[in-house]
């Protein structure tokens, strides 16, 4: 079985984001970019499936700008076998909508015929939480979102999902799309020899047109603004003072 892992290049989660003065989005020039943290977990899970003999090949895919090569090299250094980069934008500020990404991924699935697609549950830039579900819909496959445990057994997978009420376990038919949550595993760091080896692993470059997908967005960005800031608060010196202030504020 082949496993396909879509990975997104996003602003590093430690970076404080700044909104661009013209309101067109967030400033991404000269900002540290990394692999979306959820996608690291997805790559890790795919590699573990291969190590357990349940997968033969792990293919990492990214849709976006040329610079996403770096993200794919990270996936290869972790242990993915090969990578596909679909260039769908020139400017690093252009984000590709989940519907477009899902359509391109469907094209890749049709070609590669993987038995499993492992996505992140959400990308930490746009927090849309949509791509995996959309891909599953376009393929007519089953879906298992927000996974914290995945057990593949022949033609079905048992997946435990993190939901509002606690945990839900479902069984899905293979092939399937799984989106992974934070507690599924702890992703490994790539070792230096593996980083060197990754440079020689195959990385194919494609374009959105190769899959017959028009990347034009459905959502137009009208404005992007900083959220309203909270008024500065005060420090209190004791529990008694805290209680007094809370009573004054009508909070207790």
């Amino acid at each position: 079985m082949k496993v396909l892992v879509p990975v997104k290049r996003v602003i590093d989660y430690n970076v404080k984001v700044r909104v661009k003065a013209d309101g067109s989005g967030v400033d991404l020039a000269n900002v540290k970019m990394s692999m979306n943290p959820f996608d690291e977990i997805a790559v890790e899970q795919a590699i573990r499936l291969k190590e357990a003999g349940k997968a033969d090949e792990v293919i990492a895919v990214s849709v976006g700008v040329k610079q996403a090569q770096e993200t794919l090299r990270t996936a290869l250094a972790m242990g993915a076998d090969r990578a596909i980069l679909v260039i769908a934008a020139e400017d690093v500020h252009t984000d590709i909508e989940p519907l477009t990404v899902a359509k391109i991924l469907k094209g890749i699935v049709d070609e590669e015929q993987p038995g499993l697609v492992l996505c992140g549950k959400q990308a930490i830039d746009n927090d849309m939480n949509a791509t995996g579900q959309m891909l599953s819909a376009l393929l007519g496959w089953s879906q298992a979102t927000f996974a914290s445990e995945v057990d593949i057994d022949g033609d079905s997978a048992t997946v435990t999902r993190e939901v509002d009420g606690g945990l839900q376990t479902i069984k899905v038919k293979m092939p399937t799309v799984v989106t992974v949550d934070l507690r599924l595993n702890e992703p490994r760091y790539a070792s230096l020899p593996n980083i060197m080896k990754a440079k020689k692993k195959p990385l194919d470059e494609k374009s959105a047109a190769d899959y017959g997908v028009d990347p034009a967005p459905r959502l137009e960005i009208v404005s992007t603004v900083e959220p309203a800031a909270r008024a500065a608060g005060i420090k209190v010196g004791s529990v008694d003072e805290l209680l007094e202030k809370l009573k004054e504020a009508g909070a207790v």
């Binding site: 602003i11 989005g25 909508e97 945990l167 934070l182 960005i221 005060i234």
Partner: protein
């Protein structure tokens, strides 16, 4: 113009607060029809019919909807979609599982976690863990939206909408339910509680989390946790507050032993009054706290609990 709203129904029970907030959110978009699904859902439908602003309730009772598996519920919504321009739901994990699937089947984009409606096609939503607010305009014929509950007040009850039973849309047979692990609790539900007390890594152990729970019970509060506390096994996953957990905006939020990482702030910074108790006076949580107490939590929290 008409709106189809997927009600939050779990095991036959309507989540009134989440559903009524979504009714407020979409009221300006057109006549609201609420869809209830479940193995049993007549009671939920009857209750949804009392929410003011609801024009009609559709009740789809069938075993295949019992656990709200995404594939059959999405197919049902798509089969009903012809009559509606907006298809909406509260931004719960259930809806976030289902609605993007609906959108893709309709070949439209989804808009997740919308916090404000500008007009019928223009919506505001947070990006980058709430560090920026973006207004987007959709060019799609149908708009598929989930609304973030913490920014809308629940619609009042007192309405009397008609309830219509509808048939199932068929079972694609792609997935099945195995089990739920849900901890029963007498505490208020996290996303609708008026007061939330959250503990972080500073609490140190599952056992010591009882200090947090005792304060919460004194305040009739829900209990929350940081990701570090959940990852360390001090608290269950459904208590996590933040970018990838729940988003809350109670009247009072008490953060204990939590440093205030942006991913945590994303889930609570719209709370009305924020209290932080942390022994490190440099902790970023103090930047958003109305009242900050620099103290050891093992002294301050029991003292606070006993004096309330």
């Amino acid at each position: 113009m008409a709106v189809l709203l997927l009600a939050e129904v779990t095991d036959g029970e309507l989540a009134m607060d989440a559903t009524a907030k979504a009714v407020t959110a979409c009221a300006s978009l057109g006549d609201v029809t609420v869809l209830c699904t479940g193995a049993t859902c007549a009671d939920a439908a009857a209750q949804a019919a009392t929410i003011s602003g609801v024009g009609k309730v559709l009740c789809a009772e069938d075993a295949i909807y019992g656990k709200r598996l995404a594939e059959p519920v999405a197919d049902l919504i798509v089969s009903l979609s012809g009559d509606y321009e907006h298809i909406v739901a509260p931004a719960t994990t259930d809806a976030k599982n289902i609605m993007p699937r609906v959108a893709a089947l309709l070949d439209v984009m989804v808009m997740s976690d919308v916090t404000a409606v500008v007009d019928g096609s223009t919506f505001e939503r947070p990006i980058y863990a709430g560090n920026a607010m973006q207004t987007v305009k959709s060019s799609d014929a149908k708009k598929v939206i989930t609304f973030r509950g913490s920014t809308f007040d629940a619609a009042e009850t007192g309405g009397n909408a008609s309830v219509e039973n509808i048939g199932a849309a068929g079972d694609p047979g792609l997935s099945s339910w195995v089990e739920d692990k849900v901890a029963a609790s007498d505490r208020p539900e996290l996303t609708s509680a008026g007061v939330v007390v959250s503990g972080g890594r500073g609490v140190g152990s599952e056992d010591d989390f009882k200090i947090i729970e005792a304060l919460a019970d004194k305040l009739n509060a829900a209990v929350g946790a940081s990701r570090a506390a959940v990852d360390s096994g001090y608290a269950p996953n459904d208590w996590q507050v933040g970018q990838t957990g729940k988003v809350v905006a109670p009247n009072l939020y008490v953060a204990v032993g939590i440093s205030g990482a942006i991913q945590h702030l994303a889930g609570m910074k719209d709370s009305k009054v924020i209290v932080a108790i942390n022994k490190d006076e440099e902790a970023p949580i103090f930047q958003v706290a109305d009242f900050g107490l620099v103290a050891d939590l093992f002294d301050a929290v029991p003292e606070l609990t006993s004096k309330l």
